[in-house]
């Protein structure tokens, strides 16, 4: 029996969510490993300048490798407070 394909959940926020037209999706990690590769595969777009990324609710680098079940979030610069 083949093992299940490792997957990540991707979330988009604010202007990024609006521009991509979706808030959340699930992506197979087939042939890709890092945050940067996930962005490229999921969106097919160049990364907008200043985009931030969090993995499992903590800020991360685009070079960070991902594992099955991770939650990856992409968002624009924050404007709270």
């Amino acid at each position: 029996m083949p093992t299940a394909m490792p997957r990540v959940t991707i979330r988009y926020f604010a202007s990024l969510r609006e521009r991509l037209g979706r808030a959340e999706e699930v992506l197979d990690l087939e042939g890709i490993r890092t945050v940067a590769e996930v962005w490229a595969r999921a969106t097919g777009e160049p990364l907008p300048a200043n985009t931030l990324v969090a993995v499992n609710l903590e800020y991360a680098d685009f070079s960070q490798p991902l594992r099955d079940g991770d939650e990856v979030a992409f968002f624009p610069p924050v404007t709270g407070g």
Binding site: F13, S15, A54, T79, G81
Partner: protein, 147 residues
């Protein structure tokens, strides 16, 4: 040490009074200084009248991030207590958006911690403001909403 991220409106001065009342033994006689920052929604920004605002956030990450910043502040300065409240969802002009309070035996610790927490919050906590103006909705950019 309390972090609240909530949709409900709050009155900052009433929140402070009630927080101090809830644990008088932590404050009375020990606090030399309390430093507080309250950020509110303005009815103008970048030269335009703002009618309303919606604050989007990343549920789960906002509280986690603010608790991390609060822990960093406690590690850097001797604090008696901290309180952070941040709204999300729909807001009206004049509404308080954020409250940061730091209590300490000495004023420098209280001031520095309060400033540290609000500065980190403004630059890193995952909240995004969308304003409603006469020209429509627009996402606020950090340059315009910053200092």
């Amino acid at each position: 040490m309390t972090v609240l991220v909530q949709e409900t409106a709050f009155d900052p001065w009433e929140a402070l009074a009630s927080y101090e009342r809830s644990a008088p033994e932590r404050f009375a006689g020990k606090t030399g200084g309390a430093a507080v920052f309250v950020g509110s929604m303005r009815d103008f920004n970048q030269g335009q009248t703002v009618r309303a605002m919606t604050l989007e956030h990343y549920p789960g990450m906002t509280v986690k991030y603010l608790e991390k910043v609060e822990a960093e502040a406690r590690a850097r300065w001797p604090l008696l207590d901290c309180l952070v409240i941040h709204r999300y969802g729909p807001l009206q002009p004049g509404d308080p958006i954020v409250l940061v309070a730091a209590w300490a035996a000495h004023r420098d610790a209280a001031f520095s911690a309060c400033r540290y927490i609000i500065d980190e919050l403004k630059t890193r906590a995952p909240f995004w403001k969308q304003e409603q103006t006469a020209a429509g909705r627009r996402w606020v950019t950090p340059e315009g909403s910053g200092k």
